[in-house]
Amino acid sequence: MLFTSLPFVLFVAILVLTYYAFVPHNERWGLLLIASLGFYFFADPRYLIFIFVTALTAFIIADITEDYNAKRKAYLKANKADMDADVKKKYKATTTRVTRLLLALSLIINLGILAYTKYINFFIENINAVRGGEPLSFVNVIIPMGISFYTFQTVSYSIDVARGTCKAQKNFWKFLLFVSFFPQLVQGPISRYEDLSKTLYDPKPFDFRNVSYGFIRILFGYFKKLVIADRLVIGLKTLTESPDEYKGAFVFVVMMFYAAQLYCDFTGGIDITIGIAQMLGITVKENFDLPYFSKNIKEYWNRWHITMGTWFTDYIFFPLSVSSRMLKLSKWSRNHLGNAIGKRVTVYISCFCVWLATGIWHGAAWHFVVWGLMNFVVIMASQELEPLYERFHGRFGLKTKGWYGAFEILRTFLLMSSLKLFDCYRDVGVTFRMFGSMFTTFNAGKLFGGELMNLGLSGGDYLVAGLAIVIVFLISLVKFLKGTDVREWLYDRYPLFVLSCVCLLLAVAVFGAYGAGFDASQFIYNQF
């Protein structure tokens, strides 16, 4: 069931009505669980087995861990007087080992399932490429929908419980809902148990404003997704499927199309997710914060796919950087390589690991790995150049000038759009060649020779997509410059709010690229 299919829309409509009309407040989570499992069931009943195994193992191990931690705390408290520092330390060390083992077990099972389903064939492919001789045959596995998202949610829960920063859920069915909550199964966000559990099991009571906000957000999500993203995809397909026909200036067109397409597809999907949750009285963390208004790449990654970024920071970057081994390495390198370089070594290693993991997480393919590492390179370069920039800015007082800010935003946008080419062409060599062709044979005149009309998009399509992008841009601009949420502004002028809903709905209905004649393309992040 796609987000953009009519059955999904009806499914959500019926759910929201039932939810408020017939189900008492404290049982609403139960309805959500049924709906979520149903959603999964209709996608493919076999998926249920996977999600069930993941949820059950994480649940049981977290439960045991918490009990163990509680006992350990109680023991320490009870025997405080009798223990000297050494005994205490020893006791702590052994018990810590037990919790670590438990956590490791949970992570191995769940990350193992993820690794096996998603990466086994990629692994075999590469072994075959290196080994030569009789190739190993591929394994026939199904990749459960949203497995990367729900596995990451489960892993964060397991770690948080082991760390003691989060209380374990004692009701398995409630926990299963956290893992399987359907709006975020398709493309995130990756919620933390601490955040989501607050409203998931105890949703806000019916509130007209909340439901209206959710409703218009869903409409806006469909608008971005169906009117812009799914329309541009048609042109992108033509451009990237035969790259050698569309070089130079066309690569720039690809960059622009893909930047708009990916943004609208992904944020549109998130809008639908958060909108549905909001209609249900549930607060889901934001995943985007005007990413294309970032002034540098680090800021960009703080604003784009936020929940993924923080996940990698909290569960890979930090643990790795502050591990005792890394701290020792840091000390050693500072002593031997000097303070300036030595300080960086550990950060760079951790950062490298994070971006490698990010690349792999995005998909089982080399172009994702290269894409991840290119991000690492660019972030490191900008980190190193920062003092230089600072001096440059200071010398000319650039920081205070508005146009310079705009330049920085544009620069970051172009840089990020260039990196996205890897994802677009899905082949490392082709990407480098195409990127190069922009500088060798740009030939802007070619764009106006009528070839843009042969990409599968009509003049009307360009007009509609263009106007829709302007609308999305203006709404973002208002938010960026004034901090105003257009939704709230409209709601305070309620008739205007209704008018906007009507216009959005009609625009999606008429101009949406759905149905026969359009390939219903899945959300890009669906496959991750």
Partner: protein
């Protein structure tokens, strides 16, 4: 306190009213847009208008023709009336499949019960759904009933879905890019394109050589089609309707001997008349150098009048049909049809005289 409460109710009222208005406007707009965006089939490809047009015809119809272009282009309903007083209707449509004919019969029975149903057998060669666009032209025009639902269900090709038939808007919304004047002019009412289901063409293009028939690996008529023929037969029996099977006199698409034999067998087994008019072309006086407009695929008005005259004689002789020329209320309506018929023919002849070809009908009239 009081003013606060008042303010609150006023605001609530505004919100309630605008919400209700918003919903109403949306529904209305979607309804209107659907009307605007669905193809109108008013010029060029008019076949999509035929099925719907039936519901506007007020005369009683004692003879109902079912089938594809071999009925709706080949039999002049006006000739049937003028020569024999037969009041008939052709519920034909492009590439009408056997199950569609069956469900159209069901549909027709909701409105009237004819005495004779004439089914053209060419469609029996298809056992599977064929093409979305032909499906649409046959099915979209049907009024909603279980018959329409079942007809759609039986006809959908891969990739089609019921919801697109329930809300044609979903299928046609992307036509916003290709709307023409016709779409705007005919949002709410459509022009008449047939005379009781007969699609007239007055131009002439003599019959040409057809490619010789390809040998088939299997000459058995598909079971699914034969099953629906059977159901048609049973439905007719239940309603005391005489079923007549015909094969129109046109030669292409090719009608194989083996197929003919199977239909003959059916005719024998169930005592249903079957007439293959291919063998009777000479007797009915068809001259394929003048009686076809597209090199022999379909008859033009001259051929259709000859075929109608011939089949009309058979129908009058074989069944007790009313001579509606004697019934003033019906005759009056037929006179109006004749006026339309003559005017249409004259208009086509005038264009032929002026340009040597038809400009407002057929392939030249297709709007891009």
């Amino acid at each position: 306190m009081e003013t606060g409460a008042k303010k609150f109710t006023y605001k609530t009222l505004v919100m309630a009213v605008s919400t209700v208005l918003g919903v109403a406007v949306t529904v209305l707009a979607l309804w209107f847009l659907q009307k605007l965006l669905v193809p109108k089939y008013q010029r060029g490809v008019v076949e999509g208008s035929m099925i719907e047009e039936y519901y506007d015809s007020n005369e009683p119809h004692e003879v109902l023709f079912l089938g594809d272009c071999e009925v709706y282009e080949n039999i002049s309903t006006v000739t049937l009336y003028e020569n024999y007083g037969i009041s008939s209707y052709i519920r034909g449509s492009a590439q009408q499949l056997t199950w569609q004919s069956y469900y159209l019969l069901e549909d027709t029975l909701r409105y009237e019960t004819p005495k004779v149903v004439v089914f053209n057998v060419l469609a029996l060669k298809y056992g599977e759904p064929q093409s979305e666009s032909y499906n649409r032209m046959t099915l979209d025009g049907m009024r909603w009933s279980s018959s329409k639902w079942n007809a759609i269900d039986a006809s959908m090709t891969d990739g089609e879905s019921m919801i697109d038939y329930v809300f044609p808007f979903l299928r046609y919304h992307s036509r916003w890019d290709e709307l023409t004047r016709t779409d705007f002019e005919h949002v709410l009412d459509k022009d008449r394109v047939t005379i009781n289901g007969y699609y007239m063409r007055a131009d002439v293009m003599p019959e040409a050589e057809f490619p010789s028939p390809m040998p088939l690996s299997d000459y058995t008529l598909p079971q699914s089609a034969m099953d629906y023929l059977m159901r048609m037969y049973e439905l007719c029996r239940e309603n005391d309707i005489e079923l007549v099977l015909i094969k129109a006199p046109t030669l292409y698409p090719y009608w194989y001997e083996q197929w003919d034999a199977q239909v003959r067998q059916f005719s024998y087994d169930y005592n249903v008349p079957y007439i293959n008019y291919i063998y009777l072309r000479d007797i009915m006086g068809l001259d394929m150098s003048t009686d076809t407009y597209d090199a022999g695929l379909h008859l033009n008005i001259y051929g259709a009048e000859k075929f109608a005259d011939y089949i009309g004689r058979y129908l009058t002789n074989s069944f007790e049909l009313t001579d509606y020329r004697q019934i003033p209320e019906v005759a009056q309506q037929w006179e109006d049809d004749i006026v339309f018929y003559d005017a249409l023919r004259d208009a086509q002849l005038a264009e032929l005289q002026q340009y040597g070809e038809l400009r407002s009908w057929g392939a030249n009239a297709i709007e891009s």
